[in-house]
Symmetry: C2
Subunit: 145 residues, 2 copies
């Protein structure tokens, strides 16, 4: 792997107030990643990254996750065509979460169900109600290969 801007963790002070990216990967080597749509700030998905995925995201500008179910790197959109172009990458105070703002195109969808956002239901009383708009694509069609 090429040298990147990912550094070893140092002090609490450096992590919270420093200028070096010092992400904390958990005992499985993973860090949570929140992905938002850059124009609306809408949270569209949540996934995990390992160090390779984070590096790949920074180097290519394409949101890249680690698929825990498939046990491998997951360049978002490789199957569905729904590439997420990273416009901004942030971390939090203790650098154990990544936040990206992505451009998914005017008619893009982040969710494997075909909805723009994975968060297409909200709690209303004791029920989940759908309010994620229409499906952007038909998953049976997109993932048929």
């Amino acid at each position: 792997m090429s040298q990147t801007c990912i550094h070893e963790r140092t002090s609490h002070e450096e992590i919270e107030n420093g200028q070096k990216l010092q992400p904390k990967f958990d005992s499985n080597g993973l860090i949570p990643c929140i992905t938002t749509e850059v124009h609306t700030n809408e949270v569209i998905m949540f996934a995990w990254m390992n160090e390779e995925a984070l590096n790949h995201t920074i180097e290519t500008g394409k949101a890249t996750y680690y698929s825990r179910s498939r046990g491998k790197l997951w360049v978002k959109g490789e199957s569905s065509g729904q590439i997420q172009w990273v416009k901004e990458l942030r971390t939090d105070c203790d650098q154990d979460v990544i936040l990206i703002k992505a451009d998914i195109g005017e008619n893009g969808a982040a969710c494997h169900t075909g909805y723009k956002s994975c968060f297409y239901r909200k709690l209303d009383g004791d029920k989940l109600v759908f309010d994620g708009g229409e499906r952007v694509f038909d998953p049976a069609e997109v993932y048929k290969k």
Copy 2:
């Protein structure tokens, strides 16, 4: 614990397309929670909930997390005064993440550092740069007790 709207997980179809909240807690009994500011959609923090915290959030309308470091329920704002009033609660396609939209008041701050959002730095080239505005409060003052 009182009966709530949290149900046991059933089928894949029910989880993805159903109206019942069937959250998946991980092997530690926790589910990730993304918190946004309701007016701007800005992601302000990320934390974990156990079932009790999720119930408490739904029942009281105050965002309640599980503090992994302190090993106990954490009603956000109990120490700092920075209560997060939940205006909307969502879950994702496979119901293993919670998303809340919270009202933190006009001059509220979610981060223990005093910034509005924990994500007060963005990656610019190979450096993290601060762009989270001014600190809303002085942590030394707020947490001195």
